[in-house]
């Protein structure tokens, strides 16, 4: 059924269609509307049987989900940013124990400086925690990915994180096609746990494992993620047949057929990138787009095949490894057969800075022409940075960095062009 609704509510409705049994909620922008929507559905009796628990922290949210999942219930929570970091210990724990929890991450920057707007620093910080990480490009894909996520999680007994851009998707009112309960029930079988706390068959979960078996247990986690790489394409195809649209899969390709230059990115920025590429195509540029949906497990083989023809690769990232550069770029380089010098990094949209077509077109053109630096921070105010560095040279007590920079640029919001 077509609906014009907020992204968060679309996800809430999709999650409800998946019949979650325990939902843990702790407010953090920009995720909050999702659990608010679910809470209302549980309170109204529309989502039943389901326990909706208002916990005291994100650490508790993930911990309650761990307990619920271990006791055989389909468990869900949502978070963002600082919340994801606050629950990090439990996030690793859920993956280590192989508990099929599904969590939405409404991607948001990490402080300090505190910032509520969108980038990918939160999810990227958890890229090696053992969760499957799926990135949604649109609200439609976000809701579809949740339906696929529960099935994937429960089939493999691994937790799945569905990442959607905070505000850009969560707070955008868009048309979505909401599936019926029958459609979702047909796609997503009831939860049959591989391990469950049951007095009839008592097991110990979470025992201490020493060097004699730790490597094997960790390796099995890796094997399971590799299995996801085999399952995801087939299920995306099954989803397409059942629901009538392409959603999910390992990646999406756009105008790649004769592309010399390929732009790689994740999430909602792919829309802007496609528009930019359309504009460049009209001017005769041979450029295409590769959108990565499945970031963990990393689709090495599929990516290598997709990038086979590409002479230059430009990776647009909403996060970066401080002291290194691009995180996604580092992953792309493992899957690119050409010269690693031809993989360029564009860091963009940090803390919600708008990513414009004009800036992207300039960055991509520089990559095509071979004039781009290996690592570019899109629309960086270099003069303000230089002045900040000068202040630090001039005075030992140069003061708090962020506050001085804000005073300098004289703005409290990002500059829109």
């Amino acid at each position: 059924m077509l609906k014009q609704i907020e992204g968060s509510h679309a996800v809430a409705e999709a999650v409800a269609l998946c019949r979650p049994e325990v939902i843990c909620a702790y407010p953090i922008s920009p995720q909050t509307h999702i659990v608010e929507g679910l809470g209302e559905m549980v309170k109204a009796g529309e989502l039943s049987p389901c326990e909706f628990i208002n916990v005291e922290s994100e650490f508790a949210a993930m911990s309650v989900a761990i307990g619920a999942s271990a006791a055989g219930a389909r468990a869900y929570t949502a978070t963002a940013s600082q919340g994801l970091l606050f629950m990090t210990e439990a996030v690793f724990n859920a993956a280590g124990m192989g508990l099929p929890i599904v969590m939405t991450v409404a991607n948001r920057a990490i402080g300090a400086p505190i910032n509520i707007w969108n980038d990918h620093t939160d999810s990227m910080s958890q890229r090696d925690c053992g969760w499957i990480q799926l990135f949604a490009e649109t609200n439609q894909e976000a809701l579809d990915l949740h339906i696929q996520a529960f099935r994937l999680a429960e089939e493999l007994s691994l937790p799945v994180m569905v990442c959607m851009d905070g505000f850009i998707l969560t707070h955008a009112y868009e048309r979505v096609d909401m599936p019926t309960q029958e459609q979702v029930d047909a796609f997503l079988p009831p939860f049959e746990p591989r391990q469950v706390l049951d007095p009839q068959d008592p097991v110990s979960m979470g025992a201490m494992v020493g060097p004699e078996a730790f490597t094997e247990v960790r390796y099995l986690a890796h094997v399971k993620q590799m299995q996801a790489l085999d399952l995801i394409p087939g299920w995306a195809e099954e989803f397409r047949k059942a629901f009538g649209r392409d959603s999910g899969g390992l990646m999406h390709q756009y105008r790649m057929e004769d592309a010399d230059t390929v732009v790689v990115a994740l999430g909602s920025v792919l829309g802007t990138i496609k528009d930019t590429v359309d504009g460049l195509r009209e001017k005769g540029h041979r450029i295409g787009v590769l959108g990565i949906t499945c970031f963990r497990p990393w689709p090495t083989s599929a990516l290598r095949a997709a990038l086979e023809r590409a002479r230059k690769v430009s990776v647009v990232e909403k996060a970066f490894g401080v002291g290194l550069g691009g995180i996604v770029s580092a992953n792309v380089r493992t899957s690119y057969s050409g010269s690693l010098d031809d993989v360029f990094t564009v860091i963009a949209g940090l803390g919600g800075r708008p990513i414009t077509r004009e800036s992207l077109a300039r960055a991509f053109t520089e990559v095509e022409q071979g004039t781009s630096a290996p690592l570019v921070f899109l629309d960086l105010n270099r003069a303000a940075v230089d002045r900040a560095l000068a202040r630090e040279r001039e005075s030992r007590r140069s003061g708090p960095i962020a506050e001085a920079l804000l005073r300098d640029v004289g703005l409290v919001t990002a500059q829109l062009r």
């Binding site: 761990i66 706390l197 007095p199 097991v203 025992a207 201490m208």
Partner: protein
């Protein structure tokens, strides 16, 4: 294995042996119904109070629930000594997740049971004093506040014993730990710090809060039974002497627990809905020195010369407990 023949069982001073009691008053530990929830063969130290406390408490809970019990366990001695891979001593469904989240994990289990209509299965969460009063305090307070249907048991041995006897917020004043060394002008742990967790639990207004020690087995079992009569959040705080951390002979575990009670150092009471409903009276009050002296963690109070001032302050705290909870027979 559910039965171990018990030839004689002495519950403590002033009480008769279990064999002489009517069936209903007998301790779970010496009946054929004893579940051995925490089986023999685990790696606890000789004289471990926590191993005793856990077996007593979980066996009692198993008895009450007819074996319909799930346990969540914090990181710590109890977790480590009971489940050295690939072995486990637990004869109940048991989960260890993290150090600081046990109450929340238990909440999740209880929620799953409720949504599945299995409220006959009850949930126990357990941890040491570090996992309870320090790192797990946020999750514990949240579980209390929501009144989730969980019995949380804290085995209090007054320090982080698993990591090598470091101070926790349950470490008593003047006690020597690895991080409150017995050196300087004020050796041992500082006065005026620490949390009174049973009182904090009561302040949440939860249905049932109780304290117990491993020296009074029937009292402990009765409190577990009483706790399981309630739905909602319940808290049981058990004093469990630790020969390693306290520095007493491993044969003195029960005696140390009894002296903690009889000196007034550790008040044994129970409370319902935030009000004290019963206390375990002290039959023969002992000066705190009797409790302190056998413990090496207090050795600096007696050698090279007695530190009268500090001993007096500890006695004053015990006296305050005695007044506050009316622990003497005639009070």
């Amino acid at each position: 294995m559910s039965f171990q023949p018990v030839k004689f069982y002495q519950t403590g001073t002033f009480t008769v042996g279990n064999r002489l009691l009517p069936d209903g008053e007998r301790s779970v530990q010496s009946t054929v119904r004893r579940h051995n929830s925490l089986n023999s063969g685990h790696r606890a130290c000789q004289g471990c109070g926590e191993a005793l406390g856990a077996r007593y408490a979980i066996d009692a809970a198993m008895e009450v629930t007819g074996g319909q019990l799930i346990a969540a366990n914090a990181t710590g001695c109890l977790e480590v000594f009971s489940t050295p891979y690939p072995e486990t001593s637990w004869q109940v469904p048991w989960i260890h997740s993290l150090f600081g989240n046990t109450a929340a994990v238990a909440t999740g289990i209880a929620a799953a049971l409720r949504v599945k209509g299995r409220e006959d299965v009850r949930v126990v969460a357990q941890g040491g004093d570090g996992g309870t009063t320090d790192i797990g305090f946020g999750c514990l307070s949240g579980m209390f506040e929501r009144n989730d249907d969980v019995l949380y048991i804290c085995y209090d041995n007054g320090a982080y014993m698993n990591t090598g006897v470091q101070r926790s917020s349950a470490t008593p004043p003047a006690a020597r730990t690895a991080t409150t060394a017995a050196v300087g002008s004020t050796p041992g742990n500082t006065f005026g710090q620490g949390k009174d967790l049973p009182a904090i639990a009561m302040a949440h207004g939860i249905p049932y809060v109780a304290t117990a020690t491993v020296s009074e087995l029937r009292d402990l079992e009765a409190k577990v039974r009483r706790a399981m009569e309630f739905r909602g959040a319940r808290y049981l705080h058990i004093l469990v002497p630790c020969p390693l951390g306290w520095g007493h002979d491993s044969s003195l575990t029960i005696r140390m627990a009894r002296l903690a009670h009889e000196s007034g150092i550790f008040p044994v009471f129970e409370a319902e809905n935030g009000e004290v409903t019963g206390v375990a009276k002290i039959r023969r009050q002992v000066p705190v020195e009797e409790y302190l002296k056998p413990q090496k963690r207090y050795a600096h109070l007696f050698s090279p010369r007695p530190n009268e001032d500090v001993i007096r302050r500890i006695q004053a705290q015990a006296d305050r407990n005695i007044r506050r909870y009316r622990l003497l027979q005639d009070s």
